[in-house]
Symmetry: C2
Amino acid sequence: MPSEQDKQTHLSFAELSALLARIFERHGTSAEVAAILANNCASAQRDGSDSHGIFRIPGYVSTLASGWVDGKAVPQVTDAAPGFVTVDAKNGFAQPALAAARALLLEKARANGIALLAIHNSHHFAALWPDVEPFAREGLVALSFVNSMACVVPHGGKRALFGTNPIAFAAPREGHDPLVFDLATSAIANGDVQIAAREGRQLPPGYGVDRDGQPTCDPKAILDGGALLPFGGYKGSALSMMVELLAAALTGGNFSFDFDWSGHPGAQTPWTGQLLIVIDPSKGAGHNFAARTEALVRQMQDAGQPRQPADRRYRQRALAEREGIAIIDTELARLRALAEAST
Amino acid sequence: MPSEQDKQTHLSFAELSALLARIFERHGTSAEVAAILANNCASAQRDGSDSHGIFRIPGYVSTLASGWVDGKAVPQVTDAAPGFVTVDAKNGFAQPALAAARALLLEKARANGIALLAIHNSHHFAALWPDVEPFAREGLVALSFVNSMACVVPHGGKRALFGTNPIAFAAPREGHDPLVFDLATSAIANGDVQIAAREGRQLPPGYGVDRDGQPTCDPKAILDGGALLPFGGYKGSALSMMVELLAAALTGGNFSFDFDWSGHPGAQTPWTGQLLIVIDPSKGAGHNFAARTEALVRQMQDAGQPRQPADRRYRQRALAEREGIAIIDTELARLRALAEAST
């Protein structure tokens, strides 16, 4: 029998999204920004991306209250070249910056075969897959890179420099939802280290270092002045470096180690940059791109790969569309309180 | 005292390149193709990329003799869209295809801010860094992806499907040679498995599977019907899948498992595709891109990272420029014999 604590209420996507939008607006964002962030956060919750769903709301509220990010920022879009769009997010969130530039980016990708969106002066505090999946639904291939905050030691180094620096990729797949992945270039997420520490579990080797830069399997030593390692040794480290260059140096945003939020207690959002590359596969010799993707996925299944990237999200999404999005009642009460309170 | 076997002769780059060009031409390539492949192979030898230098020459000769690849192919370049160039390599090598399209690709990247080159019907049997480094020397950022031949099991699968599928990246660095990496998405190169088998060494866990798809540390079991694993678990596997989609599906080339060379004994070159993406960072807010790259590298050094991608190659290159490229005499004799013989 479920305990009182586990009781759940099922909300529709529209209900959850509206509730989250009220929270964002109450805590200092414009209505436009609230709608975009609420949609993003509700999508993650719906798809079972727990670490990027309503779990993030207290962080958003805290960072808005700190004055670190401008929840009312109006992004400034510049048509920099036939294939190149830049956005100054004006110290606001990255998702409204992408939304403001999206139509121009799509137009350029279709006209030129490839186009780039460089966002800087932006805060990305969400999953990256929601930024790329919609392009694949329009038949395009999309790549995105975001740097974050210094918590990953370069391979062979002693001090954190890189962010968790995710890479996301989306491609259309004939007759199916798009093939999408979103992977941190760190060996493990910070949240998973916290969970291991709470449960008293040791981590496998290769996940982190202690405050002296020495390898450790103790999650507490990683959290207590230590840092994460890149995934896959020197290769993951090289990819994380590439994310810094693409998401920050190329856009004009901060590197993960560049910003100092000590003057804003409660600040949690990395103030960096984001790059998107969108490709129109119909321009190439690969006219049948989505069919080729599907052929590759079938081969991966035949080779015994038990599940494909994004499979779990799509299953959760289908469940949520049938039954609603389950929220634990105590959490729902907290969300409703935040929707009433203002800072 | 060095044995007779270890005696070396030092050749200039021009001498080695001319010798290799004679070999290629003798064994069935056009003079144009010979010059391009010789330059590529001599560059790898000069830079200490031993596995992609003269070590590859017998493989080139064998594959040319088999009739699998057309050494006289004339690539056909198509201006597909303002930011999109396609090349049909006509069953020839990928490097001449890149050379034929390079000027158009550069022009498009500078005009649009980003451009793409999609090569298909091509054979890539070389290191990937020589394809991207020259773009960084012109102030541009370059990414390349090549798929190869089925020898890597998708994460969680039992059967080889992906190639070693390298990703290469190059970025200009103020006051220094470009920052360049070229990394296979497999956990280890096939050649290194062969060396471990010869030396009777076990491999670390996570490098390969045996013929039944079971994890093994025995290099002989990997070579005897087994396969390699992707680097970094499911993340490397996702990246390898992305390489298949970008280098093959998008270009119209074969997947790594698509081709059947059983009718061409001696064939060694994967008949696939290659994608290049070239970005002009001066179009973005990151006007000072090369200076930002340099700032990042300094931070990586300060964080204790002992060496940067490509450092070793540049050191070897400087040495070779001072002293010539050292070739063991017995190997040089074999090369000279190949330059005289024709198949």
